[in-house]
Amino acid sequence: MSAASGPSVPPGGTAAPAVAMHGIDKSFGPVRANRGASLEVAPGEIHALVGENGAGKSTLMRVLSGMYAPDAGTILVNGRDVTGWTTARAIEAGVGMVHQHFMLVPTLTVAENVVLGREITSAGRLDRAAAERVVSDLSAGTGLVVAANRRVSDLSVGEAQRVEILKTLYRGAKILILDEPTAVLSPPEVDELWRVLARMREAGDTIILITHKLDEVMEISDTVTVMRQGQTVGRVATRGTSPAQLARMMVGRDVVLAGQGAPVPVPTVSTAVPRAALAVRELTVADSRKAHAVDGVSFSVAPGEIFGIAGVEGNGQTELIEAIAGLRPVAAGAVLLDARDVTRQSVRERSDAGLSHIPEDRQQRGLVLDYSIAENLVLGQQHRYSRRGALDEARIADNARRQIARFDIRPADASAPARALSGGNQQKVVVAREMGRDFSVLLASQPTRGVDVGAIEFIHAQLRDARTAGKAVLLVSADLTEVLALSDRIAVMYGGRFAAVLPRSEANEEVLGAYMTGASGQAA
């Protein structure tokens, strides 16, 4: 494949590279996560490591940080051969990794978490004041602002991530690996993170950024390494490449990115008001603290319409979707499917009435991770795949064969546990199950979160096809580009209410962004 035709950066240079990995092989059972992968990172640069889900990025970085021993290949850090080292040795040598999933003790303070394992003690006791001082200094020096004496359980996700980075820096990391750091951050928090990383680069630190968001790559990185199916397919200077070229290298073919290329077809909703497939009336949902997470929201979605809900996460979107799906009790108001009140009905009754649901948390809700692909492909439909109390194995296997082929789920092994799949393929299983059956209303919550460009394109196409086929789609996404690319109408949720409901023609990032912060909502 001649995809990697960009301006190649000559590896090496005058100084020894900070990191040089060559011919790395790493298998987990039948899955070959890395196949002769290589990576070369110059000292003092921000190096983006990009690739689809399951391309082997995280594995390669775990090999570098000592979590996994490679099956083959060599690792050099600052010119020293460190192949097969342990995490302890890696930390000593200044290589630290910030994982996608935080590893913090919620009941301890920020300072206590940062110094954990390397405590500052006086007379055998933790010197809290000294720890807080050190952490505050570190925080001020890097721009990672977070109060040292606060409990971690009280922090926002963005703040918790700062604590993770501080923890790594406290251990003396000079080569910092960040695994998809922006997946959980709001746009202002992302900007803040970029500022911190730029500052660290100036201070001479080396940063490796795992991501599959190409705009991030273009914005912050100096050099990009692209991985595909466990192999390194290219290494290019960021200045000499484009998102389209990177996407091509990642996927191995041309990709239509959301919001560009083919124009969004203008929906042709007939002027005669169609009957709402989904209607929500004055819905109020209590959250765990008895406050109103959703506060009197009303809207309806017509057949053949995609209704998008934008907003900063935590403004009631999760509670709204769960209440519609039947997973959360409703305090007041009603949910109607095809004009039938289902407010008091169970999850199964709503599902039987034609409601499909792609949940935002596929690992907790959308999949039983220890169940096979085939078993997961009937979750929620198990009563349709059984006869006289017994599972109908033949039909379950048949369904798995069809969905795996139709949605290109890999590996194409129906008996593989969902746990063994990459994030993108896990999401494909959920999408296949919810869209591969008969339904009239689809709740799609963050349908492409943590999914690679190829799968995003595919899922978007599925959602558009569903609209064409006359399905009503309720889309919730933190990704404005996605909401704008797909929706016919867009609501912005803020503080449990709709701050605005706009037709697609009146919406753009600036308008939505203003409503998302609540500013316009109050003015309007």
Binding site: S27, G29, P30, V31, R32, Q229, A325, L327, S346, V347, R348, S351, H357, P359, D361, Q364, R365, G366, L367, V368, L369, D370, Y371, E375, L379, G380, Q382, H383, Y385, S386, G389, A390, L391, E393, A397, R401, I404, A405, D408, R410, P411, A412, D413, A414, S415
Partner: protein, 367 residues
Amino acid sequence: MTAPAATVAPTRTRRLREQFEEAVLPAVVALLIAALVGDVLIITYGQSPGAVYRLLIEGTWGNAYGLGQVLYKATTLTFTGLSVAIGLRAGLFNIGAESQLAAGGFLAGVVGTLLPPGIPSLVVLPLFIVAAAAGGGIVGGAAGVLKSKWGAHEVITTIMLNFIVLALLNYLTVAHFKVFDTLHTADIRSGTIARLSAVVPAFHGSAASLVLLLALAAAAAAWWYLFRSRAGYELRAAGLQPAAAEYGGVNVATVWWKAMLISGAVAGIGGLNFVLGYKHYYEDGFGTGAGFLGIAVALVGRNNPVGVVLAALLFGTLSQGGLAVNALVPKQMVDVLQAVVIIAVATSVPEVRGLLRSTRTRGASDA
């Protein structure tokens, strides 16, 4: 991985074989580790491991009477092991098999005393099964309802129910049902189940009865229920990931009380082994320890009914073997071995499984 068609769906037999290996091999490895630790203990005690183990084997599998005793113990342990395993598959830790077993035996014993003599066993057997299942099921189901309705943790409630139920059964037996000067009820006159010695005379004197067929049937039924039925699919999903089960239309609270009801009922049916198969009456304290040992059986059997049957045989062998080796070493030695088996299983299972998987992949890539 690149060509979807290249990965062939595994055949049914291969999957069954894999399930079998994962159920059996960890237990075997654990046994080897336990034997090794046993060597050290025996040598420290000044005996020869060979002699002690020979005695242990001879006293259990080496003669028909010993084997009969092993089978008798394994039969009860199969029921209590299945009971704990079903609970664990639903994500519930049933510590109450001890009192559920006793309650099942008690109710069967009481029903037995009410029957006139001369009714064929096969006719009244269903009645006894229902009675025993009801006895255990009420106790287990009570803990289940407490959890489903009020969120009371099943570990606490089942432990407490053990005390309450065992004391209550003791009171009822002593105050209302016992034969004078004993702690047992009157003899059952109909529906007793034949000893194994009636089929194979060599088993003469041992307690084993045809209830062991009932245990095997229970294991088969449990396997089918857990892995082949829709209810089992929902039960396991609720145990693995309650949030996903809920999303999949499963009422998790309902699964909880049903699972505890079934778990208790299975333990309760275990009471028939003593009541119908062995003594033909209910005796206070007949199954002491078998309920708790059921936890170990479920653990070693990896909550898989096939594994539970084998683990029950293992623990049956060890507890009978303890009596056999008493001449050379204290029988507590075998209690230590049981503990070592449990610890070895708890620690070695992930390792053994990892090894199994990697051998399999190597085998697959060689092919």
